[in-house]
Symmetry: C2
Subunit: 456 residues, 2 copies
């Protein structure tokens, strides 16, 4: 990569789009996984429209320069860790949005935050459901790249369920459109779905058409505290047999205490686990759902069960749950897990995590989108302590191994990125890895799109 | 393909699995699209387990023999039309099913009928929603191959939304497993979703894990008749702005009369169109939904609005709707459309279809899953009349052109198969066709899996 080649790109784009300034480059090296092995790019391109994305990819294809696409940089798996000698292509400035109320869709550019999409939809009485805990700071492009989930997904599904159309730039610079405002489409291969969750390794999203649904009804919130985390997980399994609440979150004792330390809100520090459930069933059906949840809590020996129909009061608990990441982040260095298992084996997973933590003398607080079996057991360690990171890493991989053994996945919603790449073959096996590689090679033969994410 | 090579396959499989008998071969040449250009296979393989599927594909890969996979043969796009010199690989004998109530999934083999999956789930108070009109005679494997929809999809989504896992045999005979009983999974590329709707061109499904949900609540049925088909379509758009009913079907006058001729049930033969809506909202919310539907009907100048809370009475109308295909089939030769458009332009689509029918002097009765913009305007013609098929074919392609111009799709749920292959490039354009071809070539370089379906 010669200096003069880079000047071609600078010249091809409007002033201010390409930056080679050291401080800016430093700011774009990491996502929130803070991968210590992140590289140093030769430039950051902050595109403001699809044409600039296309020009950048064409240039990169010609010169075989790696491109790491990036939204808000809030990814937790190193999917946006920069690579040496590459370009970081930021989509954060592409922020157009249009709500089509007749078709009930949002037409959005990738740089918009999830919360901004929700807000724009809400102005028309509509709702974009997927809600990662980070919804106020994560971009919709990143959500599409990772097939992001969130708290309401137990009832409302994940990002892929809401993507009706995508504009993409492929590895050779070709711009394509997949899908559209139609809700059903069986024409040709399901390419649209293939690109969702592909973590920028197959193409770069420049526009998305997202399905919206009517605004969520008011919610009632049921909070229970439990004597053991396994008891809480058993309540989750019990509830799942009969209904899908609109939220069913778990926090274990360490998480509860981390949140109390970080933002005191009167949570029960003695509880081994807490479940936060919500029902948004229409009045009439609401009482029955609440009764099922309360009964499951009681059957699992809940120490305390609290019910509120007040939205603000309910939101306090949910905000506490959402604060877990920041609260744990304040506690030490983190290795962020995102393992998911079939709901019935959730108790075995949380039990096994306790054992792994004890064995390696690390703390592994668990927060979870428990209702769909997706947990975030985050390995906390003291980066200054010798050997601590090594022990943490061993625990990190053992948790993923355990999830795989239980019929689960190493990532339910964060994506593989670079942080979990080593574990992916253990889950998928050699034949599915080979298939993945075939598709990657077919679509990006020179490997310029996000090299190192998902695949070596 | 030498006779001795075929004997290798016969020898490799248990007696009765491979048939070369002419009458049987004739029975497996066509699906319900009755493609006159269907070829004649050299043998029919009726596998009873995944190992036999794998052995067949390995043999076909070695000898480069085309394989046309086939479920119940109820496909409407020629996706299972046999090809000369190839094998028809029928999955109809693979019929195992297991319901896992704790995980709320059905683990099914592809030969099971959709109705049988529903029935098995219902024994446990669970429900598999996707419901093609042909649900009593179509196989779940075919549903997965075409990403089938149905009547309840307006509220409950299509097949891909319910597929959590697939066992597949790839073109080289490799057997793989994708997904599992977990409900969320972002590990690696979304290969699972790529195979759903791939019409047997990328791999052959030998087992599927399907998500089940709690049994559907009782439904109320609202039937309206309208002075014009456009008025009925406008009522659909109006309803779609506010809610997703659990069913919203349209029949135009010719369809109504065809059903009355075929199975008299007292429908209003003078109505230009009829809408059949259902609400399965919980009591309390039900009345509000019904009111919205009734108001939309009235606003669109409905001539008659009928409401029933009686399930059997409601089912009579739905059965009438489901009988449309058989009723039209009795009326003449058919070219089966499956075009879908964004819901707001549904009135333009039905208006345009009326014009196309008039222009080419063919009958194009329309039935539709109107709530999600997916229509079946079926071109009826007299096969004995000279020039009629040619006129019908012109109309057939003009309807697809119109759908594409309106931002729609040539197929919402039937798949492209062979019958709509010529129109696919018009919808997708050369770049997306090239991308499709790249993936096909990467996964099936010799083109042995269902050649001629989707792609040339």
């Amino acid at each position: 990569m010669s200096e003069s080649s880079l000047q071609e790109l600078v010249a091809a784009l409007p002033p201010g789009v390409v930056t080679t300034e050291a401080a800016t480059i430093e700011n774009y090296r990491h996502d929130w996984s803070r991968d210590p092995s992140a590289g140093t790019p030769i430039a950051v391109v902050r595109a403001t429209d699809a044409d600039q994305v296309q020009a950048t990819v064409r240039w990169a294809a010609e010169h075989k320069v790696p491109i790491v696409p990036r939204g808000a940089g809030s990814g937790l798996s190193g999917g946006s860790s920069a690579v040496d000698g590459g370009i970081v292509l930021s989509l954060e400035r592409m922020r157009k949005i249009e709500i089509d109320t007749d078709s009930r869709v949002a037409v959005v550019e990738p740089g918009l935050l999830n919360a901004e999409v929700k807000a724009a939809a809400a102005e028309h009485g509509l709702w974009y459901p997927p809600d990662p805990s980070s919804y106020e700071i994560c971009s919709i492009g990143g959500n599409i790249a990772t097939n992001a989930g969130g708290l309401c997904c137990v009832k409302y599904g994940v990002t892929t369920d809401y993507v009706l159309g995508l504009d993409l730039v492929l590895a050779d610079g070709t711009a394509i459109t997949l899908g559209g405002k139609r809700v059903k489409d069986s024409a040709g291969l399901s390419l649209l779905k293939l690109f969702v969750g592909s973590e920028g390794t197959l193409g770069i999203v420049t526009r998305a058409i997202l399905r919206l649904i009517p605004a969520q009804p008011p919610r009632s919130t049921i909070v229970g505290t439990f004597p053991t985390v396994v008891a809480a997980a058993e309540a989750v399994v019990d509830i799942g047999r009969t209904l899908r609440p609109s939220m069913l979150e778990l926090m274990d004792q360490t998480s509860i205490n981390a949140v109390e330390d970080y933002r005191p809100m009167g949570l029960d520090r003695d509880a081994a686990a807490m479940l936060i459930a919500q029902s948004d069933a229409p009045e009439g059906a609401r009482e029955a759902e609440i009764a099922i949840i309360e009964q499951a809590f009681t059957k699992a020996a809940a120490m305390d069960v609290f019910l509120t129909h007040d939205a603000d009061e309910g939101e306090l608990f949910v905000a506490g749950r959402r604060a877990c990441f920041d609260a744990l982040d304040a506690r030490g260095a983190l290795l962020l897990e995102d393992v998911g298992v079939p709901v019935p084996v959730l108790p075995k997973l949380v039990e096994g995590i306790v054992a792994i933590a004890a064995k390696h003398q690390v703390e592994i607080p668990v927060v979870a989108h428990a209702g769909d079996g997706n947990t975030h057991p985050n390995v906390v360690y003291n980066a200054a302590e010798e050997g601590a990171r090594d022990r943490a890493l061993i625990a990190f991989y053992e948790v993923m191994d355990l999830a795989i053994k239980l019929g689960g996945t190493i990532t339910g919603e964060h994506g593989v990125g670079r942080a979990k790449r080593r574990a992916l073959p253990d889950q998928l096996g050699p034949d599915v890895m080979a298939l993945t590689r075939k598709i990657k090679n077919a679509l990006d033969p020179d490997g310029i799109l996000n090299p190192g994410a998902i695949l070596d």
